[in-house]
Amino acid sequence: MSFLAPWMMVAGIVGSLGVFALHLLTTRRPPAVMFPTARFVPESDVRAVARTSRPTDVLLLVLRALAVLAIGAAFAQPVPDAPGAQVRTVVALEWTTAVVDIEAARRQAKGYLARGNALVVFDTAARELPPEALDTLSAPSPLLRRATLSPMFVRAHDAGTRIARGADSVRLVILSGVSADGLDAATPAWRAAWPGRVEVVRLPVQADTLAAPTLEVSGVFADDPLQPALAALAALRSGRGAHGVRLARAEATAADSAWAREVSGAVLVLWPATAASADVAREGSIDPRADTVVNAGVVALDGGEATPLVAPLMRRAVPEGRVVARWRDGTPAVTERVYGNGCVRSVGVGIPVAGDLTLRPPFAHFLEAMLAPCGGARRAVLPDSALPWLHAEGRLADGPMLAAAATTSSPLTKWLLVLAMLLLAVEQVVRRIHPRKGA
């Protein structure tokens, strides 16, 4: 048993001692005696504080002291200590498609886990799982290639504060490839929020190159505005990438689907070029009288890594899946779903024929994301020497300090308050029965 606010418990004990001390002081009328010169005594309150050597109303004293103690304990918020060893571990496991041997990573994580430990699985998001779930973690398979550390630190901090009760220290073990795109501006701050050293176990991951993928484009029409952008992309990048991409500007064929299903890492991008097709979402129009939907659209890549596209884009419905980009109102603009060994990426963004949108840098970034490998691109793995701040030497996180940072409330608080109320009610009854004693 430990307390979220132990100083309140101390205050409760001091308060009950104060009650005991006050019981030794009684305010009563002093004994009346004949005093001939009483007229020279100044007028004042005839009650006087007297001190006794032993408390006279033990029952009242006990009730009052217990009530104060119960109130102090309620505000101290007692919480039962979590079971487990004195040194407990939070294991943060990267669960992405970039990890070369996910089974080995799972076994490695299992080696760290024991009773009372916590498991955090993360990609671009993080969630805490019971350690027993590690055995069944192979399903579902990882969806993303990227893993970001900030959400992992947030979840690991929560898990650490939860298991820290009753522990001397808490260890944080991160099993991750730690790539460059896994860090963001908040990562150092979240790392600093963890009050101890961090053990980083680097997992072997597939690092994607920045070279252009092997790209096949079908269904391109004569004035397709995507053509100059594709040409510019090809001119900038050279060589062959690790994955293949098919960009379908018309309806996907059975051959395209078979290719995406069979070829490992294949990316089939469905980006219909017909702007006025029937499945254009009309509800997104800002002008209900218009026949065609021309939105002052803003499309941002999910994660906000690149400059959003701001142009009269046309909105098109996309199937459910991992959201790659969203419209301004949060509606998915680009989704991706696993399909066999590859994936199918549906792009619901209609590019206007007129204008130079496709030649501007934001569109180049957008196009890069559309042609990225399944699960998103993953940048280079950072060496250990680049991350001294991440796994700095030092002591493990202090358990009591970490537990004190928890914002959880005690389930016993309300019951202790109820107990205090009951004690005070009984005290009232006892005082009414013995009014002189309660004075």
Binding site: P30, P31, A32, M34, A38, R39, V41
Partner: protein, 289 residues
């Protein structure tokens, strides 16, 4: 003379005389110098013979030598009647112990009466009680001190009786024993008038040590003269009480002395024989209080 418990005290003050502070009116022969001249053997002065003088008082030898008629005068001595006016109010019965203010007043009265009676002065007493005012007229007969003692011992203290009316009816030497908590203004007036009439006035202000230094225990002080006066005497009020009581005693002494009254503050733990000697000391030979 049956004096009961006062025997030791009377032994202690035996031989003490209580001379008048100034010449007394003409009266029965006594120990005090009178304002008149008499026929005593001691020569004092001559006075021309006036018609009506007793021829026996002529100094015949002087008449023969100088052919002038003179009468020989000698200093006269007279007695001085003394009345003790005792305040038998409830406030004098403090503290509850045996030696309290009333006990002191009784012992002082008996001792001073004995001192006065030893000079052949008539002594009497007025015991002003709320029940009844007991009066023993000043007498010189033997046993009067014992009578006074018995009367005092039989007195029950109660109420807040006035003292001033008894002063007007007292002998030329009036001794008031009181704690000054009653009709103080009227008493002052009566004593001043007594002094103006040529009498001697003594005020023995009886104070208890417990009044000067009250107990540190908090008490609800109740005035025995007026039950409506109930004050908490505790640490917070004790110092103010002392200041007020000191100022009261000082003011009483100052005002009474201004009227020609001999004022003595007597405290209940003081030896009575010492007090008697101090009170009975001849005029001009002591510093009062």
């Amino acid at each position: 003379m049956a004096v009961g418990p006062y025997g030791a005290l009377l032994d202690a003050v035996r031989g003490v005389r209580w001379p008048a502070r100034r010449a007394v009116p003409q009266g029965a022969p006594g120990a005090h110098q009178a304002r008149s001249r008499g026929m005593a053997p001691e020569f004092a002065e001559y006075r021309p013979y006036r018609q009506g003088d007793d021829p026996k008082r002529l100094d015949w030898k002087l008449l023969a030598r100088s052919d002038r008629a003179f009468v020989r005068l000698a200093p006269d001595h007279a007695t001085l009647g003394t009345t003790f006016v005792l305040d038998a109010s409830a406030s004098m019965d403090y503290p509850a112990a045996e030696d309290n203010k009333w006990t002191l007043a009784k012992r002082l009265t008996v001792a001073l009466a004995a001192a006065a009676h030893s000079g052949s002065d008539p002594v009497g007493v007025v015991i002003a009680s709320a029940l009844t005012a007991q009066r023993l007229e000043p007498r010189t007969r033997r046993g009067v001190v014992g009578e006074i003692a018995r009367a005092l011992d039989a007195t029950r203290l109660s109420g807040s009786p006035p003292l001033a009316p008894h002063v007007a009816l007292s002998a030329p030497r009036c001794v008031v024993l009181t704690d000054c908590l009653g009709d103080l203004a009227e008493l002052r007036t009566a004593l001043a008038q007594h002094v103006v009439r040529g009498g001697e006035a003594y005020l023995l202000h009886v104070v208890s040590r417990a009044e000067l230094e009250p107990s540190p225990e908090p008490v609800l002080a109740t005035d025995p003269r007026d039950a409506n006066v109930r004050r908490a005497l505790m640490s917070a009020t004790r110092e103010t009480y002392r200041e007020r009581f000191d100022a009261f005693r000082t003011e009483v002494a100052r005002a009474m002395r201004a009227d020609g009254v001999q004022v003595f503050e007597v405290i209940d733990d003081a030896p009575v024989d010492v007090l008697v000697r101090r009170i009975a000391r001849p005029a001009g030979s002591e510093a009062q209080r």
